[in-house]
Amino acid sequence: MKQSIAFWNILLKDMKNYYLKPPNISWGIVFPFAWMLMMFIRTRTVFNIEEVFSGIVAMSILFGTTSMLSVTITFERKSRSFERLLLAPIRMELLITAKITGAILFGIFNSIIPVLFSVLYFKAAVADWTMLVTGIILLSIISTLLGLFISVSAKEVFEAQTYSNFFRFPMIFLCGLFIPISALPVLIQPLSYLLPVTYGVDILKYSITGDNALSIVLDLAFVITFCFVLFYSSLFFIKKKWII
């Protein structure tokens, strides 16, 4: 009971202080539009919405969450308010879960606009809604956990930002969004399969066109495994590095 009060209030505080601030909300709305525009320019014609849909959704989530979480955590560590959380009688697992939940929800929120726009305006056909929602949730979780992993190594806020981009930009090209993995140089292909986002994107593709590269079961298994690995390895490093 006590732990759930703490959990809920940490989440609520992060929502109020970070995620529900007007600049972040507008980011969640403007950013997906920017991606759509980019797609449009890239194809130079009226684009095929089913083709770019998963890309826009995935990018919106990835760019909404990763740096958001790593920046807020690094900021709190820097201003030392994070100490309050470490000093509270809350299990570390719960504390970190509370911190990431806000970012995960923000990631899901970021996906809403592109989904609505694609479906309502561009009349995109979604083949499997359950898988779309599952994919969005899993991608939000995995992008947030990447942010958590980054915040373990960052000491300054600008570092968190830089590391986030360092991870994200190569990911865009490696995860099969714009260039099919099979079209990548053979030497680089294994790298793609090491990225959790690759599998998340594949789930999205499956849910929209049914035309995905890997088996959906494999995708789900990989993403969930990645989630656990990232969560527990972050936790391990947090315990090791933040309580010295």
Binding site: A6, N9, K13, S79, R84, L86, A88, P89, I243, I244
Partner: protein, 324 residues
């Protein structure tokens, strides 16, 4: 022997090769104000961090209420409140919201934490600033709110890493009074400080810490007494004595177990290695029609004791702090 609420046994903290805290042992009694006094880098913050679960322990054990919690500091965190050496509340949140949030971290219900937050704002005279953002607070107000935040869950023990760093005299005094009052209401206080007067004024017992080692640990009175080599009583007379040397000589003949001399024309110093019974001397003086206006025991201060036991120059310590 009073009940001990904290016991540290052979605590050691190493940062790689550097030993910040070196095999220290001490006990904190329930209901007391215990002070850790030492210069920069002595290991005060490191000790607090170990006791509060903010630093890993390299060796040794920590007991709370007799229970070994070395490996289970989360358990200890339920009954302690911690004020770090710097303010660490949320800048963007109001004082009131900060307090309520801190309360929620300890599982207080909404009404519990709201009531307690209002109480604390009252006690710390921050009512008017309650709705202002923390970042707009003055240094003294920030310190007060940080202490209030550590009290939101009614902890049994309050840890204070430097109660009044860089705070003006009036605010510092107010904070010390609050700590005293809190202690009278049964909260055990563990504080660190480099202000010797602060330790002397506030603490029941003090440990001198230097280079990670505890040099002395005792009640303030015992530390002071142990530091004084002799007893000195100053007797002030209303009228000046013209023939001081002879007068003193006579006194020394009369009272061979003390050593009398004149500090100046009207002040007589009576020195002995033992405790001095001054009544016969006072009687003697009054029989000679000397009007005594004051007789006082010269008390060495905790500062004298600190210098004697640690060999640290106080002025140097103060200067170092100012540099910081």
């Amino acid at each position: 022997m009073k009940e001990k609420i904290i016991e540290a046994r052979n605590l050691t903290k190493k940062y790689d090769d550097f030993t910040a805290v070196n095999d220290i042992s001490f006990q904190v009694e329930k209901g007391e104000i215990f002070g850790l006094l030492g210069p920069n880098g002595a290991g005060k913050t490191t000790t607090i961090n170990m006791l509060t679960g903010m630093a890993k322990i390299s060796a040794g054990k920590i007991y709370y209420d007799g229970i070994d919690l070395t490996k289970n500091m989360k358990k200890a965190q339920e009954i302690i409140g911690v004020v770090a050496d710097e303010s660490n509340l949320y800048d963007e949140m109001s004082g009131y919201d900060n307090l309520c949030f801190c309360g929620s971290l300890y599982g207080l219900s909404k009404t519990e934490r709201e009531n307690k937050a209002k109480d604390l704002l009252n006690i710390f005279r921050l009512n008017e600033a309650g709705n202002a953002k923390f970042k707009a607070y003055s240094k003294g107000m920030k310190r007060k709110l940080t202490i209030a935040a550590a009290l939101i869950h009614n902890p049994q023990i309050l840890f204070l890493d430097e109660p009044t760093p860089g705070i003006d005299v009036a605010s510092a005094r107010q904070i010390r009074d609050l700590i005293k009052t809190l202690n009278e209401k049964n909260t055990t206080v563990f504080l660190t400080t480099h202000y010797i007067e602060e330790a002397e004024r506030l603490c029941d017992r003090v440990a001198f810490l230097n280079k990670g080692k505890i040099i002395m640990i005792d009640t303030v009175n015992n530390l002071i007494n142990a530091a004084k080599d002799e007893n000195l009583i100053e007797v002030v007379l209303k009228e000046k004595i013209s023939e001081k040397v002879q007068f003193a000589l006579k006194l020394n003949e009369e009272f061979p177990y003390v050593n009398c001399s004149f500090k100046n024309d009207d002040t007589l110093n009576i020195i002995s290695s033992k405790q001095i019974d001054i009544s016969p001397i006072v009687n003697h003086l009054s029989s000679q029609n000397k009007f005594i206006i004051e007789a006082r025991l010269h008390r060495p201060s905790l500062e004298d004791a600190f210098v004697k036991w640690t060999g640290i120059e106080i002025d140097l310590m103060k200067k170092e702090k100012e540099k910081k």
